[in-house]
């Protein structure tokens, strides 16, 4: 067994739920029904699997990092290479599923929020493939630091609209996408990018991302021996979709599950339970419940909340959540590039940064890292930082 279904109310333990404006309640209910039906339909599953293989490039490979492992003093590091997917990250797994679902529901328009731009690019890609209209909301700050992805989305035929309120990052892009959806719900599917938001999204997106964990489990057993799993499975956590995707393959095993949050956006590490963006989860907020702005080098993790299932896994102790600083991330970004010839995105560089910092404790152990995306989008930013 992997991770459990949420309750009928969309709860993972104390977390989750559906805290949305009344206008959106029927749409969330309809989406839940449609997904449950599609997910149980072999025809839908086959169509998605074919698309993931023939278009997305799945399965993604598992790479053992011998030089990195030696540099870390004997940690056996395995990378699940989601960076090699079409569009360069794990986000494609989710959007192909949601775009097919939207089409099945008769919706011709997709809206999405994006932080680093990876989910926006993936959504724009799926929209182009299926001939759908696409609008992506992106914080003004993120549009500036991820210029390349903005251009990429426009090239793919999507309209990129700036979110200019609040912190002008991912949180505000989610607000704008929800406002759009409130106004367009009859024709539009909100293609949410992570395991967050109102029920059914945290569950729906998790199901679409479990392909990472399923593949990785089989690949690890092929490498390590039947029935053998890595000692540790780790991934970065912003909303937490790549982490849930890989955790799902190992939740029933003895593997330790470690999510890595940015120190400046550590909802689980530094937040308290709250309700925003349709879900109850750990949240960075002040004493009155005003949501605080996250501060991270990584636009994709610059988010004050976290997916509710992560809050649940933390609360019940099945996963633990570590924090790394921007400085540690910058080091890890360079370390993987130099030792393995793989330039990671800044997001998975968080997971690598934790492995690097805890190398002494991890020596002699096998660590599976979800390399959720490639670093091309971050090269310009890093050029400035390292100049």
């Amino acid at each position: 067994m992997s991770l459990a279904e949420p309750s009928p109310e969309g709860r993972f333990g104390d977390f989750g739920g559906r805290f949305v404006p009344e206008t959106l309640v029927p749409a969330c209910q309809e989406l839940e029904r449609a997904f449950r039906e599609a997910w149980g339909d072999p025809g839908f599953r086959t169509e998605l699997d074919d698309l993931l293989r023939d278009y997305g490039g799945r399965p993604s490979v598992l790479t053992e990092c011998h030089r990195l492992g030696a540099e870390l003093g004997g940690v056996r590091v395995l990378l699940k290479r989601e960076d090699l997917n079409h569009t360069g990250s794990h986000k494609i797994n989710n959007v192909l599923g949601q775009a097919l679902l939207a089409r099945r529901m008769g919706k011709r328009r997709l809206v999405a929020e994006t932080g680093a731009g990876q989910h926006g690019v993936a959504t724009a890609t799926a929209a182009a493939l299926l001939g759908m209209e696409c609008v992506v909301y992106m914080g003004e700050v993120d549009m500036a630091r991820q210029e390349l992805n903005v251009f990429r989305m426009r090239l793919l035929g999507a309209e990129v609209r700036p979110a200019s309120s609040g912190s002008r990052t991912l949180k505000d892009a989610v607000n704008e996408a929800m406002r759009d959806w409130v106004a367009t719900v009859e024709s539009t599917h909100y293609c949410l990018g992570s395991v967050m938001g109102p029920h059914p999204y945290p569950w729906l997106v998790r199901e679409l991302q479990t392909v990472i964990g399923r593949e990785a489990r089989a690949q690890c057993e092929a490498l390590l021996g039947e029935g053998t799993v890595p000692d540790v499975v780790t991934a970065c956590v912003g909303g937490g979709s790549n982490a849930i995707g890989i955790f799902a393959g190992f939740a029933d095993s003895d593997a330790e599950l470690v999510g890595v949050e940015p120190a400046g956006g550590a909802a689980i590490g530094r937040g308290v339970p709250g309700v925003v963006h349709g879900m109850k989860s750990y949240l960075l907020q002040d004493e009155w419940g005003q949501v605080q702005e996250a501060q991270s080098i990584s636009a994709g993790l610059d988010y004050p909340g976290v997916g509710p299932e992560h809050s649940h896994l933390a609360a019940v102790g099945r996963a633990r959540y570590e924090q790394v600083t921007d400085v540690e991330v910058i080091d890890a970004f360079q370390l993987l590039s130099r030792t393995e010839g793989i330039i990671p995105a800044l997001e998975p560089a968080h997971a690598l940064a934790w492995v690097s910092r805890d190398r002494a404790a991890l020596a002699g152990r096998t660590v599976l890292v979800n390399l959720s995306g490639r670093g091309d989008k971050d090269v310009a930013q890093m050029m400035d930082i390292l100049a």
């Binding site: 404006p21 009344e22 959106l24 309640v25 029927p26 309120s165 949180k171 409130v182 009859e186 419940g289």
Partner: protein, 267 residues
């Protein structure tokens, strides 16, 4: 069938006031203003004196997903001025506006303070009701229980997207009035009145005896009057707040309320 007749629960101050006025043939006008802006209590008083039947007071929240740019801006401005839920309620305490007040904010404000404490704080500040637009019927239970216990009325919203079977259930749990969302979209001024506003008002009137007030996208006295051919009244937010953000004096806001009042009284 009167689905909103709740045994053992006496109507609160807001519902009583609105029902008495409605039953006397008056159309109801409820303006909204953001709490915590400089001089807001003077505006509150002026609007009450100018003929508002009740007033919605926004407690500013950092992430108002149901609000358009005008109320987003006023919320941000109030937050920059240092407004907190505590400071807004403290200012209201002992200030007799002369009409019932409903606080409009987002659920995290209530959740963070704790349901019982937030409900008590509202009651202590003389607030009759609460409107939490991101707390739909399925999630409202725990808050509503605390609010009921503190005699705070919880106003629920009903949207055009709701199937028919959902509306009586919303009305049965709503207190004070039922807030009909006039269009698909967030708060903000619109040039034209959406057909959906009349439609949702009519659908609600067919299933409830609670006062039915339409809000979201109601911008002019003419639109308000047209709506009140079906609805019991209107809630007007952005058009009012827009005037406040433009530096309108309490007298100018009273004049604006007067224009709505006149249009509604003329019928």
């Amino acid at each position: 069938m009167t689905p909103d007749a709740v045994p053992g629960v006496a109507p609160g101050a807001l519902e009583t006031t609105l029902r008495v006025a409605r039953d006397a043939g008056r159309k109801l006008f409820v303006p909204y203003l953001t709490g915590g802006l400089p001089g807001w209590l003077d505006v509150l008083r002026a609007m009450a004196d100018a003929g508002a039947d009740a007033i919605e007071v926004g407690v500013p929240f950092s992430d108002p997903v149901m609000d358009g740019t005008v109320i987003q801006d006023s919320s941000q401005r109030a937050l920059h001025h240092g407004a907190t839920p505590g400071s807004v309620l403290e200012e209201l305490r002992g200030h007799d506006a002369g009409v019932p007040l409903a606080v409009m904010t987002y659920y995290n404000i209530a959740f963070r303070m704790g349901h019982e404490r937030f409900a008590r704080s509202l009651a202590d500040a003389g607030v009759a009701a609460a409107i939490l637009p991101d707390l739909p019927l399925e999630e409202v239970g725990p808050w509503a229980a605390a609010a009921d216990a503190a005699a705070v009325e919880t106003v629920l919203l009903a949207a055009p997207t709701a199937p028919d079977e959902r509306l009586p259930r919303i009305c049965a749990r709503s207190r004070g009035f039922v807030y009909a969302v006039g269009l698909l979209g967030v708060t903000g001024e619109r040039r034209e009145l959406a057909d959906s506003a009349l439609d949702i008002a009519g659908r609600l009137k067919a299933v409830t005896d609670l006062p039915v007030l339409v809000g979201v996208g109601v911008s002019t006295p003419e639109q308000a009057a047209r709506l009140c051919e079906v609805a019991d009244g209107v809630v007007v937010g952005s058009a009012v707040v827009h005037r406040i953000l433009d530096g309108g004096s309490p007298q100018e806001l009273a004049d604006l309320v007067g224009e709505f009042r006149t249009a509604l009284d003329r019928g």
